[in-house]
């Protein structure tokens, strides 16, 4: 069993799950990834094509883990196209993780798209710790909703709940995750909000939590070359998403000038989100 997270492991993809036409989950055996904390990520090597950071998806089988990819760039599309039996490399898991305080009794989980990946690992930890989770899953439309069944499985036999929302109202609540969150906050109190998804959504979730004086933790994504605090590509103000994150608190994020505003591209230039 490997113990050094920097050691590259070559694993065989043992199962591929089609979540939506553009989202797939690849399952593999790796004990270090199985034990990853919620919010940590792997550097996934697609041989001779790319290496990309991916949040670690849970898998119920002992010693197994997965990654869930939305096809978009060169690396994610190549990974999306990998089939059962193909080899990929991985190192990690790297980064910090969401913190579940022992005093927490009720938490709110707000996820959009593949941002659900670290949040499902978190929800499964919370279930084990008997913390009540209210889970919000957001998507643009019904066809883009995924992870509903696995979420229900994680929260079954607990007093946790799941609400799904779609922007066009084709499934569940009509509206954005933030609109649903706002409604949920009127009716409930929470010890902490946990979020992951598109950065502009997270910015709104963090702002809304801060306005309501609720603690909030967000897991961020940035382009990375190394994943281990050397290249500086993933800088967010003075912080590195790979080493200081991926999870940042609402207090940290509210002081940052880059959060929800800008990121660095491959050559290090600052690019604005809008």
């Amino acid at each position: 069993m490997p113990t050094n997270i920097d050691n590259r492991r070559i694993v065989r993809i043992e199962q591929t799950i089609v979540e939506t036409p553009t989202v797939k989950t690849l399952v593999f055996k790796d004990s270090l990834s199985h034990a990853a904390k919620p919010g940590q990520f792997l550097m996934i090597w697609i041989p001779r094509i790319e290496e990309i950071p991916m949040s670690v998806m849970i898998n119920s089988k002992e010693g197994y883990a997965a990654v869930t990819i939305r096809k978009s760039g060169v690396g994610s599309t190549a990974l999306f196209e990998r089939k059962t039996g193909d080899l990929i490399g991985l190192r990690g898991p790297y980064g910090n993780s969401y913190t579940l305080k022992k005093t927490y009794k009720k938490i709110l989980i707000v996820g959009g798209g593949t941002g659900l990946v670290p949040l499902l690992r978190l929800a499964s930890y919370a279930s084990r710790l008997k913390i009540q989770s209210t889970v919000i899953i957001g998507a643009r439309t019904k066809g883009e909703v995924f992870f509903e069944n696995i979420t229900r499985k994680i929260i079954q036999d607990t007093d946790s709940s799941l609400t799904i929302c779609t922007d066009d109202g084709s499934y569940g609540f009509r509206g954005t995750t933030v609109e649903l969150m706002s409604k949920v906050l009127h009716e409930n109190t929470f010890d902490c909000v946990f979020t992951c998804g598109p950065e502009l959504m997270m910015r709104k979730v963090v702002d809304l939590s801060n306005e309501n004086s609720i603690a909030v933790q967000a897991s961020l994504e940035r382009y990375m070359k190394c994943g281990i605090g050397i290249c500086g590509s993933c800088c967010l103000d003075g912080s590195l998403v790979c080493q200081d994150g991926t999870v940042f608190s609402g207090r940290q994020l509210s002081k940052m000038l880059d959060f929800g505003i800008s990121y660095r591209d491959k050559d290090g230039q600052r690019i604005n989100y809008f």
């Binding site: 920097d6 070559i10 003075g238 590195l240 080493q243 880059d258």
Partner: protein, 285 residues
């Protein structure tokens, strides 16, 4: 000091490092035009605190980077410059020279990008011309970063100093490769890259020793420094300052503060007034 190529693109990161008691910062190597670098994998940890990288000199280019540094006031920054021709270097220095910076480090030793770095450094005539060009365009200190290429490192350092450089930084990464035995493929997208980290320290110490023995110019030691003891060793070999890079991977920026404290303790314990007393002390023997 922070070695070039590490964390070197953001003023906010520079500010954080400055608050960690850093002595100086060398930026990522900047070229005239933005460079995206190679596709990943670009950095491969090979164990034991060593790494092989072929980032491919990715950088935002002279114009975007001068905007990045435009608000700098107090942080001692040396801009690392990379290019293929004298024209490129003079254009960059003309832009950067009005900024509040300490000086320049010319990268003549990156081992994995064609027509730049080592390919220039292996040509003494090109080195002479480039250093002279930079000298003509600035009054600030110039360091030339040398590496282990096909030309003896002392010879290269001599050419650089004779052409007007003030300082030599030694050494850059060493050309290296790693192959994955399961997939039977080179791991780096560029196949070949540069070795950094603990594996290259003895070579760096040797180069600093030989340069400082033969050339009258301050030398900045660089290569595989992972502890305060390594800093002392480089200084005893002749380094007036020492850069660290790869070790940031496992330790994060706080290592600068810790090393500074440990070095002060060493100086006190040895009853010295100043750490400079050990510079080149190994030359006595």
């Amino acid at each position: 000091m922070l070695a070039s190529g590490i964390l070197g693109i953001s003023q906010s990161i520079f500010e954080r490092l400055y608050n960690e008691n850093i002595g100086g910062i060398v930026t990522k190597s900047i070229s005239v035009n933005p460079m995206k670098g190679y596709p990943n994998p670009t950095v491969v940890p090979i164990g034991g605190g060593s790494y092989i990288n072929a980032v491919g000199l990715s950088n935002p280019g002279v114009d975007a980077f001068s905007r990045e540094l435009s608000k700098n006031k107090k942080i001692p920054i040396m801009i690392s410059l990379v290019g293929s021709s004298e024209k490129e270097f003079s254009r960059m220095v003309k832009v950067f020279d009005s900024l509040s910076i300490l000086g320049y480090e010319i990268n003549l030793s990156c081992p994995h990008v064609s027509k730049m770095g080592m390919e220039v450094g292996d040509d003494p005539e090109a080195v002479n011309k480039i250093v002279k060009t930079v000298r003509m365009n600035t009054a600030k200190p110039i360091s030339v970063k040398v590496g282990v290429g096909s030309i003896d490192v002392v010879e290269l350092a001599r050419v650089a100093i004779d052409a007007g450089a003030n300082i030599i930084t030694a050494i850059n990464t060493l050309r290296a490769m790693t192959i994955d035995i399961e997939t039977m493929m080179p791991i780096l997208s560029n196949r070949v890259g540069g070795l950094s980290g603990t594996a290259i320290k003895p070579i760096g110490v040797r180069c600093v020793y030989e340069i400082s023995k033969n050339i009258k110019a301050p030398v900045i030691g660089c290569g595989g420094v992972s502890s305060w003891q390594d800093v002392i060793e480089y200084m005893m070999a002749g380094a007036s300052a020492v850069q660290i890079g790869s070790v940031l991977g496992s330790n994060g920026p706080k290592i600068f503060n810790r090393m500074t404290k440990d070095l002060k303790n060493y100086v006190e314990k040895k009853g010295m007034k100043n750490i400079s007393e050990i510079i080149g002390i190994a030359h006595k023997y």
